[in-house]
């Protein structure tokens, strides 16, 4: 191994170990975007204040996202000689209380704790590894997220970081490509194209200049896996891309990051600087003669740029329009018409470990045909939303009921949406399916890059389909007619259905239009745009029919099909609804039953929300029957 690297690594490990043996308590605060959104920074201020007040000595450290967003703000405390305890839903008040109880008086407060992380036992606090939320998870890409300081290259190196790169630099490029091929790694961007094949074709492509591009333009609404990797473990991505550069013979790489991810950009920039400083990136890496430079390119807000040829156009400074077929492969003529290797964030992030631990290590997880793990952003109407990593082939239902803890507020499960605007909705009867690229496509959805949104009985499937179509229509680049105008036609039909003006034959027309758009669009965006509509028609046709034939929205979502009214028997005349109504549609005297003026009512539902539970006087109706109160 390279001498300079050996001493860098030894130093990093020494510092890491020293910190583990620290004689003062360590406090880790999850402060990725999700942590900050729930107030992590206020919690840190409160911790600092409390420490100063009490004179307790402790080391505060910010870490990335461990994926349990439902429990944010997460604060972990490691007291010398004690296991790491993770505390959930911290606020400035509770964290102050906790510090006093645990650090001063040695009461670990099991009531505030989420779990013990790692080895050791604390009475009354379960171990995270035994908890339903974690038991079935297996962390490869997310292994460092929430454990290391993402802004410290030494933390990363202490976790075997850059070992893959050092090993790769001692191999021939073809050997590296062969390991990636043998690992059966499939691209994590959504389609699951074998990474080894792509790498091989790029290695073989003739050209004096080649490029590596990371597609970090995570645009699917309902997905944030790539953001978490960039924010929580940026060096894994950098190392993976550098290995790829060496393997295919590229000297320049681009990370195309979404405009909406400011923190990811900050973390990546810092990581690139650090890697250059340590000679793990830049000129003549570790004296190997191989040079590789990385540049961050910030997207400017166009979903279609997630499509590889559109992304390339965007880096070239053009409108991000996909290139029509027939076209050369990106691996042969991509950026500036040079051979270009383009992979997703997670695909690159797997690479360092695959090279370091070998292809067989990777194939030991997952299923035949789909090796390794899948990362999902589990969100929507689910109790434990967050970021999860599971072995390929896990049962879909297990993710929702065991890891996710079931549907929010114990409502009835209706569907799970995967694959974003290109995917579909799967009903309860499909929850026994194993999760992998091919099975989900067969069932009419797709894995996509990893968004998994749970829908319950209060979600209208027609509205969801309309939502996605509206999205793809707005994001269509507009160059081909089926995508630009076909989706508009479909959207207009759906708008009519949701407005209670649906006609017999609308469903058939939607299916026909959808199929033609899939057949005739030029890029993946158009070819997949009708999927949410087709899959909901396939599995939830009765809901479409209820809208069309009964003029009813069973989920009570479509405003034109519902009506709020107040039950005179139940109304006590407290006036809460009247005070909160934004359109002054509610009238009624003190202690007298109130009435809603249906002409003024905009169906915002605020009266329904504010009516105290003990009265429950506001009811929502649809169609001919009274629906749930």
């Amino acid at each position: 191994m390279h001498e300079a690297f050996v001493s860098l690594r030894a130093e990093a490990i020494r510092k890491w170990e020293e910190r583990q043996q620290s004689t003062i308590p360590r406090i880790l605060v999850g402060s990725a975007t999700c942590g900050c959104a729930t107030g992590a920074l206020d919690v840190i201020t409160a911790i600092e204040q409390k420490l100063q007040e009490t004179g307790i000595k402790a080391h505060i450290q910010q870490v990335g996202c461990i994926g349990m967003c439902y429990a944010e703000v997460l604060v972990d405390i490691i007291k010398p000689g004690r296991p790491r305890i993770s505390y959930k839903n911290m606020t400035p008040e509770t964290v102050a209380e906790l510090l006093e109880d645990y650090l001063l008086n040695d009461n670990p407060r099991p009531d505030l704790a989420l779990a013990v992380i790692g080895e050791g036992e604390v009475e009354g606090i379960p171990n995270l590894a035994d908890e339903p939320v974690f038991k079935s998870q297996q962390r490869i890409v997310l292994k460092n997220c929430g454990h290391i300081d993402p802004e410290s290259i030494e933390d990363y190196m202490a976790q075997d970081g850059y070992m893959g790169l050092v090993k790769a630099l001692q191999m021939q490029p073809q050997e590296i490509v062969d390991i990636v091929t043998k690992s059966e790694l499939r691209g994590r961007g959504g389609a699951g194209f074998p990474a080894g094949r792509k790498w091989n074709s790029c290695l073989r492509a003739a050209g004096d200049q080649k490029y590596v591009i990371c597609n970090a333009d995570e645009g699917d609404p309902g997905a944030f896996m790539d953001r978490s990797v960039q924010e929580g473990d940026p060096h894994a991505l950098i190392e993976g891309m550098t290995i790829a550069g060496y393997a295919i013979g590229a000297s320049k790489g681009y990370i195309y990051v979404r405009a909406e991810y400011p923190l990811a950009v900050v973390r990546l920039k810092k990581a690139i600087e650090q890697a250059k400083e340590k000679n793990l990136l830049g000129e003549n890496i570790l004296g190997s003669g191989f040079s590789f430079d990385l540049e961050i390119f910030q997207g400017a807000g166009a979903f279609v740029c997630g499509e590889s040829t559109a992304l390339v156009m965007s880096i070239e400074g053009k409108r991000g329009m996909p290139r029509p077929l027939p076209r050369p492969r990106t691996t042969e003529a991509g950026l500036w018409n040079k051979p270009t290797l383009l992979n997703n964030v997670k695909t690159f992030a797997y690479v360092p470990q695959i090279i370091h631990k070998g292809a067989d290590w990777f194939t030991s997880t997952g299923t035949e045909g789909c090796r390794g793990t899948a990362v999902f952003a589990l969100t929507g109407k689910i109790k434990r939303s967050g970021l999860i990593e599971v072995p390929m082939g896990i049962e879909l239902g297990k993710i929702i009921h065991e890891i996710g803890g079931g549907v929010l507020n114990d409502r009835k499960f209706k569907a799970v949406q995967t694959g974003g605007p290109s995917g579909g909705c799967l009903p309860e009867s499909k929850l026994n399916l194993p999760v992998d690229f091919d099975t989900l496509v067969e069932a009419g959805s797709m894995m996509g890059s990893g968004g998994m949104v749970v829908l319950d009985e209060t979600t209208c499937m027609v509205d969801v389909a309309r939502y996605f179509l509206q999205f793809t229509l707005e994001e269509s680049c507009g160059q081909c007619v089926p995508c630009r105008l076909g989706t508009l036609q479909m959207l207009e039909i759906l708008n009519e259905i949701c407005a209670g003006k649906g006609r017999e034959g609308d469903i058939e027309l939607l299916v026909e239009l959808g199929k033609s758009i899939i057949a005739s669009s030029i890029c993946g965006l158009g070819k997949s745009a009708p999927n949410p509509v087709l899959s909901t028609i396939n599995y939830f046709r009765d809901e479409y029919e209820a809208h069309i034939k009964d003029r009813a929205c069973p989920a009570l979502v479509c405003k034109d099909l519902i009506k709020y009214s107040i039950d005179v028997e139940k109304c006590s005349g407290c006036g809460l609804c009247r005070k909160n109504c934004p359109t002054e549609a509610i009238t009624g005297g003190k202690k007298e039953p109130h009435v809603i003026d249906q002409v003024k009512c905009t169906k915002c539902g605020i009266c329904y929300d504010v009516c105290p539970d003990r009265f429950r006087a506001v009811a929502c109706f649809t169609g001919k029957e009274k629906a749930a109160v």
């Binding site: 999700c34 967003c69 309902g222 405009a259 400074g317 974003g420 949104v453």
Partner: protein
């Protein structure tokens, strides 16, 4: 030429592939893309103005009219949509007295919707400048706006 544009352009080589980063830098400085500056960019890159506009109008990030001091982005991603993002948007519109896509008359706030800010687990989410507010409820909207008034 405005001193600010001069400084921005000086940090670029003048290659036409730099068009998006230049537009981003100018917008970051001015808050939007003023007409005069668009002309300067075209001149600097030696391309027709139409080409600069062609690129700028393709991407949702760029604006051609002045924005409010604080930019409010209501996330309408899938998770936010099913957890009531539209109600939050309605409440913001009512509270600010403007429609989505507009700027308040005191130029304090601009309101717009975005597809997803990637904080889905905290839905519904609103982003004000670079701050993300998660698990919002209609009744909390006023309080959040108060921090910026």
């Amino acid at each position: 030429m405005d001193e600010r544009v001069k400084n921005i352009l000086a940090s670029f080589r003048g290659h036409r592939s730099e068009i998006i980063p230049i537009l981003q830098a100018v917008q970051h400085e001015f808050g939007y893309l003023p007409e005069q500056e668009m002309k300067e960019i075209a001149k600097f890159l030696r391309v027709p103005e139409s080409q600069v506009y062609g690129v700028a109008t393709f991407y949702a990030q760029f604006y051609f009219t002045p924005r409010g001091k604080h930019e409010i982005k209501v996330c309408l991603g899938t998770a936010c949509h099913v957890r009531g993002a539209n109600k939050i948007l309605d409440a913001l519109e009512r509270e600010l007295g403007i429609c989505c896509g507009e700027t308040t008359s005191d130029a304090l706030f601009s309101l717009e919707k975005v597809a997803c800010v990637g904080s889905c687990a905290l839905a519904p989410v609103v982003m004000i400048d670079d701050n993300v507010y998660g698990r919002l409820e209609t009744k909390k909207v006023k309080e959040v706006l108060g921090k910026y008034a």
